[in-house]
Structure formats: C-alpha cells, structure tokens
C-alpha cells in the first residue's frame, strides 16, 4: 500500500515531508484537504490530528503527524531501501550532531522565518513591526549560520535531514530578501546546493502542479 500524505503542497511543513520522501526515493500520494477549514473540523481533530494540523502521514494502517517526527520515521524505516541517500548517519555521534542542527532549525531559524512568511505572504503586512524585527533577527541568525558553514558544504559536513529541514521556509522568502542570504558567502553556496537537489526540484513540481 502506498504511503499517503495529507497536506498542502504549498505548506512549508508538508514540503518538508515531501522533500524527505523524494530524497529517500519513497513513492507516495499527496491528498490535500478541501481547504484550511477542513482540518479544524471535529472529524479531522478526532481521527487525524488533535491540534488540527497538517501534514499527517499514513503508512498502511499506521498514522503519524508532526513533520519532523514523520521525517524521522521515514528515515528509520526506509533509509537505504530505495536508494543510497543517508539523511541521518548511523554513527551515534554524527547522528547526535545532525539532531543538534535540527534543533537549531526549530528554535533559532524557523520561528523567525515563519513570522516573515506569515506577515509578508499570508497577512500581506510586510511593513509590520513584527516583520521588520523578524528580518533583523534573521540577519543575525544567518550570521551565525555563515560561521557554522565555514569550510563545510552542509551543516554537518555531508547532506543530512538538518539541511533538508531548513530549505522549505527559505524558499518562500528568498526572492524578496535575496540580499540577506547572498551577502553571506557560505550561506549563499549552501542554499544554492539545496535548491539544486533533484529531490527539491521534484517537490516544487508537486507544489506547482497542485
């Protein structure tokens, strides 16, 4: 039975899961809900996600939600099955460092980028104080990332789940703030590598088709 993902191809959290599926070469079907209201209805809350969120993944009868947990599940179960891509290394120390960078994404990067996405793209209030402050915060965060990426192609040296997690958010705001990213040589090269990965391009095709 094919894996089923309930989500919107244009949502950053769903794109995280789609990228992971594509990186590992796992076949899947994307089933978008009717609209955002549908995921807040009692039936969805009871059967799919008690907090009314997407994505939710079904692997046969097994159901799991929360994009980063879903990706970890996919790596645990399918890494190495369809291709040779390693998203979480086997070595306990390297895996620990990938995990550490995943938490950098969760705590220092994503909240800031999410605010910019919400204000610029969803609410269409790019001049709000929150958006402006978030851009200043992002500037500082990218300064840290530029140092982290010194002498490295990816956060932990080789491409991993940590790098994958960063890209979907960046994709939505890169073009309106290219200078922020590009003025940092290591960040610029890193983003370029991420956007040119075949799996990401395939994920974008999904977004553009739906």
């Amino acid at each position: 039975m094919t894996i089923k993902v309930i989500g919107f191809a244009r949502s950053t959290n769903t794109l995280r899961v789609i990228s992971c599926l594509n990186e590992l070469g796992i076949p899947y079907q994307l089933e978008p809900p009717a609209d955002f209201a549908a995921i807040k209805k009692d039936d969805y809350l009871a059967k799919k996600h008690p907090f009314g969120k997407i994505p939710v993944l079904y692997d046969g009868d097994y159901k799991i939600s929360e994009s980063r947990a879903i990706c970890r599940y996919l790596v645990s179960k399918y890494q190495g099955k369809y291709n040779n891509t390693i998203l979480i290394p086997h070595d306990v120390h390297e895996a620990g460092l990938v995990d550490q960078f995943i938490f950098y994404e969760s705590f220092y990067y994503e909240p800031v980028v999410a605010k910019i996405i919400i204000h610029e793209i969803v609410l269409k209030t790019p001049e709000s104080e929150i958006a402006k402050r978030a851009l200043k915060d992002l500037d500082k965060v990218l300064g840290v990332y530029d140092k982290l990426l010194e002498g490295k192609e990816y956060l932990n040296g080789e491409f991993s789940l940590a790098d994958l997690f960063h890209y979907p958010c960046a994709h939505f705001i890169y073009s309106s703030h290219a200078d922020l990213w590009d003025k940092r040589p290591n960040v610029k090269k890193w983003l370029n590598r991420l956007r040119n990965r075949d799996a990401w391009k395939a994920s974008l095709e999904k977004k553009n088709k739906l």
């Binding site: 799991i64 947990a69 120390h93 895996a95 995990d99 938490f103 140092k147």
Partner: protein, 211 residues
C-alpha cells in the same frame, strides 16, 4: 573521562538532561554557569554553542548541545547498558514518541514558557507581570491540556509505556506548579494530574529535584 554537563541546575533545559542522565544511571560533572557573559564569549560561541546557550554536554572529545538532542544522544549511546527503556526499538512506537516530542515543542512548551517569562522571570527582575499575556497563554495551554487529557485516557504515559517524550514535558510543567499561580491547570484534569504525579514519583525525578 566522566561526562561533563555545562549548565545551570535550575534551568529547564539543563533539568531535562539531568533527568535523562539520572534515568540512565550515568555519572557526570556539572560545570555550573552562573554568569550569562561566560556563554557569550567568542570561544564559547565557536566551540560550545553557536547561539550562546546552555546546556552543552562534553562526552570525552565529543561536544553536543540543545537539550533534546543531548538526551537523544545519551539514550542512543547508553540505553543498552541501562536498566531502563526511554526509546524503544520498535520503529512504530519510536515514531509516535517522536510525535509526542514534537507536540511538546510545538504546543505544550510555548504557552507555558510565556507564563514563566511573566510570573517567574519578570518578577525576578522586578518588572511588572503582563496579566493579558498570562491570560492569553493560559487559555492556549488549557486547550492543549484538554487534548492531553484525552490522549492520556486509560494510559499512565503518553505512548502507554514511559518514554523520553514524558520526560521532556516534565521540567516546564513542574516549574509552573512550583513557581507560578497557574498550577491548577494540571490539577483540574485527572489524567494529566495522574501522569505528572507518576513522573514526579520516579526515583530519577526525586533525585534530580533534590539536588
């Protein structure tokens, strides 16, 4: 070489790691950080934590930060020698534990942290408590705890058996109970109350909070 933990024993993320060390029966040295400026030096940022945060764990030559990453690393490396299972082998069970860990990060921690910032940290700094923020955060966490109350029906722990997901939730919840006026949010929900009581009665928790 013993494990070294750089942190502050009363800080929530440090407690998370100490709980895990104690559950796994691991000995460690705590290098207490008492002044913020020591974790913002160039050396600390370059070699310990790029964003200048604690805790940081040094295991021989290996350095890792971010409390939840540290805990997962400790479990991966040392669980096989311990008498406890914090992350089981079964992929499906592990992944649901990861889902609950994500719930903790996304839905449980944020409103509780807002309350702590107001009622504990602002108070400590002699700044006024913004009651509107406390009220809004309380409304938010009440809805989250209604979900947890259902998740915990017929269960002592989130995924049935005790796991790292339960441990991750405890430091924040406990701090709300001991140091704020909002502890009733847990006590008025029998399944949530039972869950937290189960946790605080575990030997590792008693040991952690006695220190």
């Amino acid at each position: 070489m013993p494990i070294k933990l750089i942190g502050y024993a009363q800080s929530l993320p440090t407690r998370r790691v100490i709980l895990t060390l104690n559950e796994l029966g691991l000995s460690y040295e705590l290098e207490a950080v008492t002044e913020i400026h020591t974790i913002k030096t160039d050396d600390f940022l370059a070699n310990k934590h790029a964003f200048g945060k604690i805790p940081v764990l040094c295991d021989g030559d290996f350095t890792i930060n971010e409390s939840r990453a540290i805990c997962r690393y400790l479990v991966s490396k040392y669980q096989k020698d311990a008498k406890i299972v914090l992350i089981p082998d079964d992929i499906n069970k592990v992944s649901l534990i990861e889902q609950y860990i994500s719930y903790e990060l996304s839905y449980f921690d944020p409103p509780l942290t807002k309350i702590l910032l107001q009622e504990v940290f602002n108070k400590r700094r002699g700044e006024p408590i913004d009651e509107a923020i406390v009220k809004q955060a309380r409304e938010e966490i009440e809805k989250v705890l209604d979900v947890y109350e259902k998740i915990l029906v017929g269960k002592d722990y989130l995924n049935g058996e005790y796991s790292l997901a339960d441990l991750f939730h405890f430091p924040c919840a406990h701090y709300i109970c001991t140091d704020t006026q909002q502890g009733d949010i847990f006590d008025t929900r029998p399944n949530v109350k039972r869950w937290l009581d189960n946790l605080r009665n575990r030997d590792a928790y008693k040991k952690t909070y006695a220190e």
